[in-house]
Subunit: 282 residues, 4 copies
């Protein structure tokens, strides 16, 4: 993402909790900030990509955080996936400091991030989005304004429900195909032309070697870590609780992500579930 | 399918358990047979499309069935979705009568059937497939030879597992989107660019009006009936039992299809599940 | 069961597919028959305990089967757990041969069988039951007449749904207790006084050593084999299909039994699931 | 509970968020406090029964809360069911104020509370428990010291997992029995002698009229509200997340409680699930 922002000609200051991770961006021309506060100073747009709501609140409100330096009218764009209620809370905190806020959770994974082809599910004020658009278009080619704060997060969590469902079903199906001795590469070609077609069929077949560029062919890395999908499904279940909406399949998918985590694959791409289901046989 | 076979220039005799259903084919130039036996007489290729293994065996072995008239070397192509073991049994029965056999379960739905763009997952002898290919290419544009009898059915059942998973997840997701007041048409556009993208997102969004050509916008018809998906998932579970392979998500999806059937949607497209999940609120 | 019938003073002829298994009964005074037909000759009551409907039909109808020798008015009591429809079919076949029929599936396990404290869920004619009662009371102390053929099997399958649910929940709970380092024996004592109390708490705690007489303390044997519970849950799901009744939890429990079978515990008591769930950690 | 404490001869001051609820205790001899602080003043033992961790923290730390008046050495006994981590946090807060702390979540329902036969799952210091024992024995006849703070809550959440599993399985089973026209009272008698036996069979059969004293025969009230069980299962899932432990059945049971809540039974006894499952047919 930093590379694409720089390539588009924007000056960029980066801060990362793990300082080493800033090095690559520095190499490409970004300046490296020692604190979030320093990174946000004089910025027109501040982009956050963090694991959970707790870290988002922390990086804004800590002593050396963004609130300590950002000037009125700076736009805080939170690209993290967090629960809608927390995102609304963050929006309110920003407003109280005179900052504008957008949530813009992403879909597209590390490949989309690299190619600048991410989809952004944006919640917040439409006029603010227009001001931030030039920067955001450097990040992703599909910008969708969904509604106010929380709406983008809601759409993102629903996206994760569908993506996880594909992954679990494909993992179950390829375990059966394996039992039957059917060539997984052939099955993959078939499914790409049939009603089974989906993102996971196109790039997450959980059998090493079938798709050379996909995580299963590269040690189940990089990709989208199982633990992050477990977190997102947890958030989706909590969202469903607000309206007492049963989400039985989503709950089961969440538990199967836990099964993969228990088996040692928390940090690996969620396609590692396929490995777990096939490994169960002794 | 009959229309496409006729359009490709093949002479065609049709038989249907419900005589009225033969009328449309007759109108297009097919001759109408009074019995399966009559339809199969002098045929080079006999295509079967039936609900379950029981009907396949019946139409072959009944007194006025296909075995009563088909000459040696006729190719029986079973396009039904049945369990792999039954398909191997049917293959053996055909072989015992000197008939060649292919299983060729289809994917693509009524739209694919109409447009001749179906995917065929073919199990049987490769040389027999080459002889049947001209007819089969009139039916579907994607012909895949997977292996011997049973292999095509295995791939088809796995296809159904993945397709059903998409449908259930999309239904759960759009219930949450509905609770949150988010425009389903907008969410559909977003998901078609994100990791949620799949066959169901592209043509089975379970909200009337979002996709004018899709079953949910047309009284949940035509499409693929919920009861047939329930049947296919049952077969997938039975296949998994052969190797004691747990398929937890598939089992849950099956039960949710039952929920839709119980609610009165057995004959409706499987997307009616979305209606059921939203209707649960009182 | 044989021991208790002999103890009650009834003459007994036994036949077992595995001849060696007849030896113990012979030692206690039973005569050993070479075929089902021989065992049923001159019998007033014929008791069947077989794994599935297929074996029940076979032992009745095979050339050297029960139908070959049993005289009119002999009562066939099928203690197997099979699906209600098959049991009704068996009843009809018996009636056609002039034999009376009762289904009497059992609950109580190997311990109940040994102590003669089994519960019998009886379907069939009430007058026939009265004639068979003296023998059946030697087998089980709780005789319940539920209805016609099939009704006893229906109740038995429902019993298995509840029993399996207890086992799965207890296995999940004791995995969490293990993670938390809580003494399983203490937890067992607590649960026997609380709303968690159930048959599994009283005799199937899936941790070796907690209950010295229970299968988990004796190599997960004897008891009720995981594969038989998987079979019974499959039958319960099929029963539910007849009325399109969703049984989501039952379907999940079935899949978890498959998980235990896949892990190598098909022949072990169903409490082995607890071992499987704890073993998943690496 | 108040009645039993008074009956045992202890002076008692009560405070309830809903003042009217204090009236019955006042009628039995309790003094009514205007604030938590007033209720705790001069108390040797303070008992809390609250819906969730948030309320527990609030009633302790609010301006007119327990910390404002309780003297050093007062024992705070939290009978609420909350997550173990929150309970440890509450214990630490009490310790920082010089107060002793026990967690003592209860099992036994409104009937057990009325009869003083509750089971208490106690976490905290053993010596503190001995000091509180006389009061606690007036509340429940089964006092179990499980370990330090959090251990009692862990056992309670596991208890709820098993109790909920029974309820869901019994609801599914009695829907099938209903479909088959089998007398639910007879089935209940059978299950009380078979492996299906459990707390729910003995007092929560989800069919009105079967057990006259049970909630289903009394408008699904009183009992243990579906929403509280949903909350407890949520906490159990969160506990399982700490160790990445999959709890598939528990997750499904949770979702089925949501189904009952969605159907309007949030405040009714959890046995209302049986009504929901039977009502689904149209």
């Amino acid at each position: 993402m930093a590379a694409n922002i720089l390539k588009a000609g924007f000056p960029l200051a980066v801060w990362n909790r793990t300082a080493a991770k800033s090095a690559e961006a520095a190499h490409l021309g970004a300046s490296v900030a020692a604190t979030p506060s320093e990174a946000a100073r004089d910025a027109d747009v501040v982009l956050l990509c963090l694991p959970a709501a707790e870290e988002v609140r922390d990086v804004l409100t800590r002593e050396d955080g963004i609130f300590a330096s950002a000037r009125r009218g700076t736009i805080v764009v939170d690209c993290s996936t967090i629960d809608p209620a927390s995102s609304r809370d963050v929006a309110a905190r920003c407003a109280a400091r005179g900052l504008d806020f957008l949530e813009a959770p992403l879909s597209g994974g590390t490949i989309g991030a690299k190619n600048g082809t991410l989809t952004l599910m944006i919640g917040g004020d439409a006029a603010v989005l227009e001001r931030a658009r030039p920067v955001l278009e450097a990040v992703g080619k599909n910008l969708f304004h969904v509604g106010g704060p929380g709406a983008g997060q809601t759409v993102k969590l629903c996206n994760q429900m569908i993506f996880a469902a594909q992954m679990v079903a494909v993992a179950e199906a390829f375990a059966l195909l394996d039992d039957a001795g059917i060539d997984p590469a052939l099955a993959t070609r078939i499914f790409s032309t049939s009603t089974a077609d989906c993102t996971v069929v196109r790039g997450r077949i959980p059998v090493p070697g079938v798709q050379p560029e996909a995580p299963p062919s590269n040690g189940w890395e990089p990709g989208f870590a199982t633990k992050w999908m477990a977190k997102d499904l947890k958030l989706a279940e909590e969202l469903a609780r607000d309206t007492n909406r049963p989400v039985v399949q989503t709950a089961v998918n969440h538990q199967l992500m836990r099964l993969a985590m228990l088996a040692g694959y928390a940090e690996k791409d969620l396609s590692a579930l396929g490995l777990v289901l096939r490994e169960q046989r002794r």
